[in-house]
């Protein structure tokens, strides 16, 4: 017989358990994996509170030589969706996916961009597709739309939310693009060239009119020869390059020497392939672009 007490008890129970139920529902975030920290940041900015994203290649990591760990395989297996760059960046991804037995769909966020080619790493004269498409903000916007669609595909109930957040973020990216163009415009046209060992700025250069030159000679190696040093000094002088960004020269004094003799300015640290640590100057994609353009202007403007 259902008594008043039973009603009260079950009512009470429902009252108590409903916050928990509500919490449970909202703690069921969509688990996403991003291959690199930059994409991870973009996913975070599109997915908001609904998505829990982890990047496999973390801040300051190198996606080209990344070697995945068993922990990565576990994360993959638990993920609902995987976002990769594509364009040949993550050579290790196919094997990892196979090994982890992950069933999540893989979304290549670079779908739809116009790829450029770059000289192959071994300098054999062959060219390969340049995977660093995010360096152009326009491409980043395409990434964002792909991510939005990918998330909506996996989580249809959040489709509207994703669309709203993405639109707001795209607007921020527009503002970023205007900033970048304005900054470049402040640099005298004949000074829009730098030497850097990063080979990741191809899309940036094409989009915004800057020239990125690889250093000649192997002065970045641990044991350069006198010829290497002479070559790069001659290169800087001959091509009148105003600034040199070469953080992986192990000896800062070597850098100073090259700068002094060639007349070039030494630039600061650039972030091209990965974000910095959370307390660093390039913790998000937008921060990263702002930081880089800040370094360029600092080194190149008069």
């Amino acid at each position: 017989m259902v008594t008043r007490r039973t009603f009260l008890q079950s009512g009470f129970a429902t009252l108590i358990s409903s916050p928990a139920a509500a919490q449970n529902a909202s703690s069921k975030k969509l688990k996403a994996i991003a291959s690199i920290s930059i994409i991870g940041d973009l996913v975070h900015n599109v997915g908001g509170e609904r998505v829990e994203v982890t990047a496999l290649v973390g801040p300051n990591g190198d996606a080209h030589v990344y070697s995945p760990s068993p922990g990565d395989a576990r994360k993959l297996a638990a993920a609902a969706v995987v976002f990769i760059n594509g364009l040949g960046l993550e050579g290790w991804m196919t094997r990892l996916v196979a090994a982890s037995g992950a069933k999540a769909p893989i979304v290549a966020v670079s779908k739809g961009i116009a790829p450029r080619r770059m000289e192959d790493e071994d300098k054999s004269g062959r060219t390969a597709i340049d995977p660093h498409a995010w360096q152009s903000v326009a491409n980043a916007k395409i990434y964002v739309t792909n991510i939005r669609d990918g998330l909506a595909g996996m989580d249809p109930s959040g489709k509207a939310i994703y669309a709203t957040i993405a639109t707001a973020y795209l607007a921020e990216l527009d503002r970023l693009e205007r900033e970048v163009r304005a900054a470049i415009a402040r640099i005298p046209p004949d000074r829009r060239k730098i030497i850097t060992t990063h080979d990741a700025f191809g899309y940036f250069g094409d989009a915004y009119g800057m020239t990125f030159i690889a250093p000649e000679g192997a002065a970045t190696e641990a044991e350069p020869s006198a010829k290497d040093v002479a070559t790069i000094i001659a290169q800087i002088k001959k091509q009148k390059i105003p600034a040199v960004f070469m953080e992986n020269v192990t000896d800062p004094r070597m850098m100073q020497e090259i700068a002094k003799e060639s007349g070039a300015r030494i630039g600061g640290t650039l972030y091209s392939d990965a974000l910095s640590a959370a307390d660093g100057p390039a913790a998000t994609y937008i921060d990263m672009m702002r930081h880089n353009i800040g370094e360029f202007t600092k080194a190149l403007i008069g």
Partner: protein
């Protein structure tokens, strides 16, 4: 044509000139010290010292972060402590110099590795501390030039007790108490040349230019003054030739210089007037008296 090969690189590029001056300064101060090290059978001290200064550099790093000044200062202090400590123990106990030094440097190295790992950082401290001949800034240049000057002056001052200590320490003890201080001063010179050399030019060059020309000179001289002169000469030539090879043949500079010195050594082993192998193969007719 000869001009282009021999002189143009130095005329055209400032970094080549600085490298040359740096190497010449090292070639002046280090080989004399190296000659004495060789004669005292301490030729391997350079390598030991390169590792032994680690705890000093580690402490400098822990105190002041990646500051070249703190780490080099720490390294120098560690080097002095080890060299002088080993020297004093060798004098006061039955231990000989090499054993005493080995004990010190092994303990020191282990201490250094422990200190570095305690901080949880695997920054390659020593790599950061060591310089390169192609990257000599003004500070490094002044450092080596200063060390060369001090070395020559101190050597001149302690010449007599140092020589006598090497050849007949018992006699020196019987006529003078200067043996101990001279010995310590000499060890200080060794540490200064090595650590300063590491910092300015890297380990390979610092140790190589100190020892290899001295060892080569053994085949050219019968008295110590000539030996030192030959050693300085070899070091200077090796520096010049090595830099040119690095420039024209696109080879790493430190190793090129040491290989040039090594070639001189190999030639001397065979053709040197004092004990060269070729005289064993082709003995000349003996003299009248």
């Amino acid at each position: 044509m000869l001009y282009a090969v021999l002189f143009a690189p130095f005329i055209e590029f400032e970094f080549m000139r600085r490298a040359l001056v740096g190497i010449f300064a090292l070639a002046l101060g280090a080989p004399p010290v190296g000659v004495f090290l060789m004669l005292r059978r301490m030729s391997l001290i350079g390598d030991a010292m390169a590792h032994a200064i680690l705890p000093g550099a580690a402490i400098g790093f822990l105190v002041a972060g990646l500051s070249l000044f703190a780490m080099a200062g720490g390294g120098l202090a560690a080097g002095f402590l080890i060299a002088v400590g080993a020297g004093l123990i060798a004098r006061a106990t039955p231990l000989k110099e090499d054993a005493s030094l080995a004990a010190f440097f092994l303990i020191s190295l282990a201490l250094g590795v422990t200190l570095v790992s305690v901080k949880g950082n695997n920054v390659d401290l020593l790599h950061f501390l060591f310089g390169s001949v192609l990257a000599i800034d003004d500070l490094a240049l002044m450092l080596i030039a200063g060390i060369a000057t001090v070395s020559l002056i101190v050597l001149a001052l302690i010449w007599r007790p140092l020589v006598l200590e090497c050849v007949d320490a018992g006699f020196l003890r019987s006529v003078s108490r200067s043996g101990g201080p001279a010995h310590i001063a000499f060890l200080a010179l060794v540490v200064m040349n090595l650590v300063g050399g590491f910092q300015a030019l890297g380990t390979l060059l610092a140790v190589g230019i100190m020892m290899l020309p001295a060892i080569t000179a053994r085949f050219w001289a019968r008295d110590i003054t000539t030996m030192i002169g030959v050693a300085v000469g070899c070091a200077t030539i090796s520096g010049y030739v090595g830099l040119l090879i690095s420039f024209h043949a696109d080879l790493p500079s430190g190793p090129a210089i040491i290989l040039a010195a090594g070639t001189l050594y190999a030639l001397s082993v065979v053709f040197g007037p004092v004990g060269g192998l070729i005289w064993l193969a082709m003995p000349r007719r003996h003299l009248e008296a």
